[in-house]
């Protein structure tokens, strides 16, 4: 057992923790990251990889993604290793006139807050997507959406942070957080010893709730499971991300016109071509605790949904499937916040399926918040206080 010290200890070596470590190290802070497994060993490697504004609520949420997109395009230059960055935009497609009307409202609201959205008619969809089912009514596009390999981005932030002086302690568990008599943070107890520090960032994703409980704070972050299928290498089906419009309904828990299993498992089409000439197919959303086993019924349902939009996939082999746990919050916004009751304790967690999208902006504002600078965007809407009453009731 050893004792060391640091300006900031970050709990969690996923993409949120590593982004925070990178931006803090860049500002000259002495940072230690404590990770119970490997870097990007949890949710950050069991997901797809996009920096999307298209699926964010128009206004604060979508602008936050736009800021993250700008930061990620700069990270291409700043970080030591490449991470398969591309910015081809992304689209949503509609199955009915009703969805087209809702899509038009979505586009108008996004345009009002300054985002590069536009409607796509049936002809435009057909000319870009020759394998798409021919009963698709049209869709919409966000021109700035970008894509990355989330594991390589996390690794790249990790090696760059290390070069800037950050220390990464993998396979190390947090066993407690030590407070001084006034209730402020004074250290983090780990399986390999004490780290003295006045600042702790809880970036533990789906495990952030028990970490917060260590200092008597309740946060409503719950694991929500999602499955993804990987195709074998194949002729290109499409060159950018496409999702079905009713993915938004699934994401925000609204009613959809789909069969019972599709509804139950929260299945909605997500198609994502990768840099390795195959594609990923999602998605599902379920509350089943920390169960990480593949549910064959769910991946069957995802495959059916994929074929509904891309009949050609019927004959394309599935290489593998995987699933991950997304850190859900009740209002679909992350918690990026200081905690007034415990001076020195910060939370950067609860990004659900937006962790890759929002990692850069989250890390940036966390670093600014901890070092007492003005934040790039206002983080007031992300304050943990908004859940205080609700969490207290549990």
């Amino acid at each position: 057992m050893t004792t060391e010290s640091a300006d900031v200890v970050i709990i969690g070596g996923g993409i949120i923790g590593m982004a925070t470590a990178y931006y803090l190290a860049k500002l000259g802070s002495d940072v230690v990251v404590v990770e119970k497994g490997e870097i990007a060993g949890g949710t950050s490697s069991k997901c797809d990889g996009n920096i999307l504004a298209i699926d964010k609520e128009p206004g604060f949420d979508s602008q936050m993604s736009l800021e993250s997109q700008k930061l990620v395009s700069q990270l291409v230059m700043e970080l030591d290793e490449e991470f398969e960055y591309r910015a081809p935009g992304s689209i949503l497609v509609c199955e009915s006139d009703e969805e087209m009307e809702a899509a038009e409202m979505w586009v108008n609201r996004q345009k009002e807050v300054g985002l590069p959205f536009r409607m796509l008619d049936r002809g435009e969809i057909r000319s870009e997507w020759k394998y798409m089912a021919d009963d698709i009514h049209g869709g919409l596009e966000c021109a700035t959406d970008s894509t990355v390999n989330p594991v390589l981005l996390t690794y790249s932030m990790a090696v760059t942070a290390e070069r800037l002086g950050a220390r990464l302690k993998t396979h190390t568990w947090v066993t407690g957080i030590r407070l001084d008599p006034s209730g402020a943070v004074e250290g983090v107890e780990t399986s390999s010893g004490l780290i003295r520090t006045k600042h702790v960032v809880n970036a533990a994703g789906v495990w952030s709730k028990p970490i917060a409980q260590m200092v008597g704070i309740e946060i409503p972050v719950e694991p929500r499971k999602g499955h993804i299928l990987v195709s074998s290498r194949t002729e290109s089906i499409g060159t950018r991300k496409v999702m079905e419009f009713s993915y938004l309904m699934s994401k925000f828990g609204k009613e959809r016109k789909v069969d019972q299993l599709t509804e139950q498992y929260g299945v909605a089409l997500v198609f994502e071509p990768t840099a390795s000439q195959n594609f990923l197919i999602g998605s599902s959303r379920e509350f089943v605790g920390f169960d990480m086993k593949i549910n064959v019924d769910v991946i069957r349902c995802i495959a059916r949904r994929a074929i509904r939009f891309f009949p050609v996939m019927k004959d394309i082999p599935v290489l593998r499937s995987y699933c991950g746990l997304r850190p859900w919050t009740p209002d679909h916004l992350p918690i990026v916040s200081r905690v007034e009751e415990v001076p020195g304790f910060y939370i950067a967690a609860g990004h659900e399926g937006d962790g890759i999208s929002l990692a850069a902006i989250t890390g940036k504002v966390m670093s600014e918040c901890i070092t007492g600078q003005e934040t790039t965007i206002s983080i007031e809407p992300l304050h943990y206080n908004r859940f205080k009453k609700e969490a207290g009731k549990r």
Binding site: G37, E38, A40, G41, S45, E81, V151, L152, Y155, V159, H171, L229, S231, S232, R233, S276, I281, I294, V296, I299, R300, A303, R304, A306, I307, M313, K314, D315, I316, P317, V318, L319, R320, S321, Y322
Partner: protein
């Protein structure tokens, strides 16, 4: 003369060479999982049936303590190749 071992293929499906493993290792990929993520070894059509042992062997020769106590490379459903159509239950 080119080093004899440099270009030998470890992962046939993704065409990953010993040299690529070496380069990734030198850049900090020191577990089999990190080697996989950096080079795509074991991620191709056969899902590591051919190369999983080779990657582990290569790594254990590099560092006898490598991967001790670390989560081993996983096996993913479906175990045999099926099409999206077969999975969906269509003919």
């Amino acid at each position: 003369m080119r080093h004899v071992n440099e270009g030998y293929i470890v992962c046939r499906c993704e065409e990953v060479t010993g040299k690529q493993l070496e380069d990734a290792y030198l850049l900090g990929a020191i577990t089999s999982r990190q080697l996989k993520m950096k080079t795509r070894a074991t991620m191709g059509a056969c899902q590591g049936r051919v190369c999983r042992q080779l990657v582990n062997l290569w790594l254990s020769k590099k560092d006898q303590c490598a991967d001790k106590g670390v989560e081993p490379l996983s096996y993913r459903t479906p175990i045999r190749l099926v099409t999206f159509g077969e999975l969906a239950g269509e003919e």
